[in-house]
Amino acid sequence: MAIDINIGSKLDGKGFKQADTAITKLNKGTKNLARNFGLALGTAAILSFGKASVKAFAEDDKAATALGTTLKNLNLAYGSNIGTVNGFISRLELQTGVLDDELRPAMDRLLRATGDVTKSQELLGLALDIAAGTGKSLTQVSQSLQKAYLGQNQALGRLGVGLSKAELTSSSFEEIQQRLSVLFAGQATAAADTYAGSLNRLAVAGNNAKETIGKGLVDALTVASNSTSTDDLIKKIDAASASIANFLRETGKFIAITKSIFKFELFATDPTAFKGMGNISTSKSSQDTQKADAAAKKAAAAQIKATNTLTKSTKENLKLTKAKAIFDLQKIQIEAALKGKISEEERIRLKLMQAIEDENISQIEKYTKMLDDAQKNTEKLVSTLAGIKPLDDVFKNWNFMGVKEQLASLQSYFNGFAGSAASAFNALNQQQQAALGGYKPFVGASIPSVAPTNPSMPSSVGLGTSGTGNQLPAGVTINVNTGIGDPNAIAEAIDDVLTQAINRGTIRNNILNAI
């Protein structure tokens, strides 16, 4: 990817000029070609029209047959009813400029929904008005009307007919139909009177002419080609178009037949030709139609009755359910439990129970999933807790017993020391004892006249064998084997022993300061 700023861009017209020249040459060439093969092209055009006419007739005939079959299936094909409906379609086609190719399927659709010829005719008229007013296709409008008739009123909302969602939801189809009839009154007729409408009507006339010609061609070709059916004939025409020679031979026959058809005076004398609207009333139904309407009305009444019964039953069931809910102890208990102080998992369980009671599938699924998750989380927590090892005893390696033993030994030593000192003191005569003053256990100590600044005992003084009198060994070193342990605990233990010694009078009070 690169970003460019193009400067001084100009249109390079050379390529365009070349293309223009090439097209001009091509046009000239095509015209010459057309001039040379004019006869062939004309023949092909006639043949093409012939094929299209045959196809149009076949499709029209198929649609008419399908409509007739629907009427038969709905038990509405009384007498000439099929002809009446087809006649109605033909009239509508000419009036509105909408092709019967669209009208017939629409009518067919409405007939299947309503099961009533008159109602279908009404709705088809309405559909034409709506289609003309909204610009939607007749197929789309008739489908929406069919759905609305069957209870799906929302389908009409999508057509943009100017009805609110609330109106569509709350109104019956009859009310909606009435409203739409007012909203779109005369739209189809007005549209047909416009220039575009006139063109459409001309197109309809042209299409009908094509179908009529097609019918004539089919009849003629069937005779000429010994075909058994229209499909067979179409296949033969297709085959004919593959071979030019065969094509031209067949075309000769077609032209002869077509010429005789285009003699317009034939229309007047041909008993099967189009004769106008006939004596079919546009305002009053025929006896057959009336008979069919009566049957449809009866069926509709039965359907309405069944629907009403079902609605009543549903309403009663609903009331019963509501009444039951008031005294449903289970639900009350769940509701009460939910108001208490409960854990999240308990709350989910209760909600699930509530949903089961209410038979609310979506809520049941929701809370089942939540409960599953909660249980999985609990299991995970339990597993995590099980994996946690208790804290090790930080004092387990401490040699407390060793310290205690050592302290006991120390205590025993001091006790012995006190005994030795006392014995030594007792061995002195009275004067010697008096000379010692307050320092009874220590032999040989001189009593200073002024209190010494350093009260510690001189290293040369003590109990032992090498002094004057009985002396203790000078420079006593006491090793305390405490092992590894808390220094504070050890110090406190030593302090405790020394304090006890002071209290017993076997050690001077200020020895601690000297340490």
């Binding site: 001084g8 861009s9 365009f16």
Partner: protein
């Protein structure tokens, strides 16, 4: 003999072949007009990546092109040669370009979605569209664009490097370039009235 050359491409070709001195003069004038824009655009390239995560690394780990100021700067330049004819039939006489991928990203990021990045769908979303953000961070796109700084609007589009430089030039370079091209063409045709052309060696 009066010379009539059809087409922009052919005119430049004719100038190049039959009046090389004019061609040289034209290229020189175009260079004088366009070089300051390219130089200025190179100056807009930050020396360091606007985000540490976009900075180049010693090892390659992603397909997304990493920011490298040197690569981006070397990718910015201009050419006085004619471009190719576009599908709509236009041909350019000179071009300022920003051809490195990282440079193009720095230039244009944030233009399409008004500075908000591509719509976020996350890494687990299906499809293969490249028009959506699949980052784990929903705000990655927006933050990326924010860090790059604002886009500058010019008549050729919004951008941060060459388009910003183009906007700041306010059409001076464009005027000079067009004038140079017109002058060369005019001189060529004027000369054709008085001189007999022969193809340059």
């Amino acid at each position: 003999m009066r010379v009539k050359v059809e087409g922009v491409k052919q005119t430049r070709k004719a100038i190049r072949q039959f009046a090389p001195d004019l061609n040289k003069e034209l290229n020189q004038e175009l260079r004088i007009a366009l070089a300051p824009i390219a130089k200025k655009a190179k100056g807009f390239v930050p020396s360091d990546s606007p985000m540490s995560g976009w900075a180049g690394r010693s090892f390659s780990e992603a397909k997304f092109p990493m920011f490298n100021a040197r690569t981006i700067r070397s990718g910015i330049g201009f050419t006085t040669k004619q471009g190719r004819t576009t599908r709509s039939g236009f041909i350019s006489n000179a071009t300022i370009y920003n051809k490195s991928v990282a440079g193009a990203i720095y230039e244009t990021a944030g233009r399409a979605n008004n500075g908000e990045g591509q719509p976020w769908v996350g890494p687990k979303a299906g499809g293969a569209s490249k028009k959506v953000s699949r980052s784990v961070n929903p705000n990655a796109g927006t933050k990326f664009i924010e860090n790059l700084g604002p886009l500058t609007s010019s008549l050729k589009g919004r951008g941060r490097l060459i388009l910003k430089a183009w906007a700041q030039d306010q059409g001076k370079a464009y005027g000079a370039a067009i004038k140079a091209i017109d002058k060369a063409e005019r001189k060529f045709y004027d000369r054709s009235k008085t001189t007999t052309f022969s193809k340059a060696a």
